[in-house]
């Protein structure tokens, strides 16, 4: 489970579809990763934020920044400072743990042991979510990233993720 100590109690409940819609409206090239990717792939995982891996191409950084500004994104700062993302930070930092008006949004340039958008875009599934088409990291790659990250919450999720992957494989063989 992906709970955060940095403010669920005082922050808005995350709105997954609204966050995705905002990113797509601005034409951001991104992959859904983490717990939401696992859930979309059929592994029942609870997470309180949306994790996305973004392409660092300069034009995409512009689009991402526009989306983040529309969402009134700021960093989840334990000291309570109001720090907003900017192009320099999006270009250089690996992890951006943000709070938006639609809840917690983590925008990342790499996951696991350093896998980037370019490394992983070939391991995604294109899902239709109503009017939206969203690229989602496949479950096997989510599992690899969780094993590499190896935090307590990642290890806790692994049994469910592995069972879901095994069940998906069995269903695929039966088809």
């Amino acid at each position: 489970m992906g709970s955060r100590s940095s403010g669920v109690a005082e922050s808005p409940s995350v709105k997954f579809l609204g966050l995705l819609r905002a990113l797509l409206r601005h034409g951001v090239d991104f992959l859904v990763v983490g717990g939401v990717a696992a859930q979309l792939e059929g592994a029942p995982i609870v997470t309180f934020d949306l994790d996305v891996l973004y392409d660092k191409a300069p034009e995409n950084l512009d689009r991402l920044l526009a989306a983040l500004r529309e969402l009134k994104a700021r960093y989840r700062d334990p000291a309570g400072r109001h720090i907003e993302p900017d192009l320099g930070k999006l270009e250089t930092l690996r992890t951006h743990l943000l709070l938006t008006e639609l809840g917690a949004l983590d925008v990342l340039t790499a996951i696991g042991e350093g896998s980037t958008y370019q490394d992983l875009v070939g391991r995604t599934v294109l899902y239709e979510l109503g009017e939206m088409r969203v690229r989602v990291l496949e479950l096997a790659a989510v599992i690899e990233s969780k094993k590499q990250a190896n935090r307590d919450k990642d290890r806790a999720a692994l049994p469910t993720l592995l069972q879901a992957l095994a069940m998906k494989d069995r269903l695929r063989q039966d088809d």
């Binding site: 859930q39 059929g42 609870v46 309180f48 069940m167």
Partner: protein, 47 residues
């Protein structure tokens, strides 16, 4: 009755989740998160 793996994973829940469309899976997650967030905030009133 639910079915569990030896390591305690609810296989019935996984099977059910896999039977849903991707949009339904995301809506299910949203329902869980909304409910848990309300509980954390202590806004669920006793009946």
């Amino acid at each position: 009755m639910s079915e569990e793996s030896p390591d305690g994973v609810d296989l019935t829940l996984i099977r059910w989740t896999l039977s849903l469309t991707p949009l339904e899976r995301l809506e299910l997650l949203q329902d869980w998160v909304d409910g848990l967030t309300e509980l954390r905030r202590g806004r669920v009133t006793e009946r």
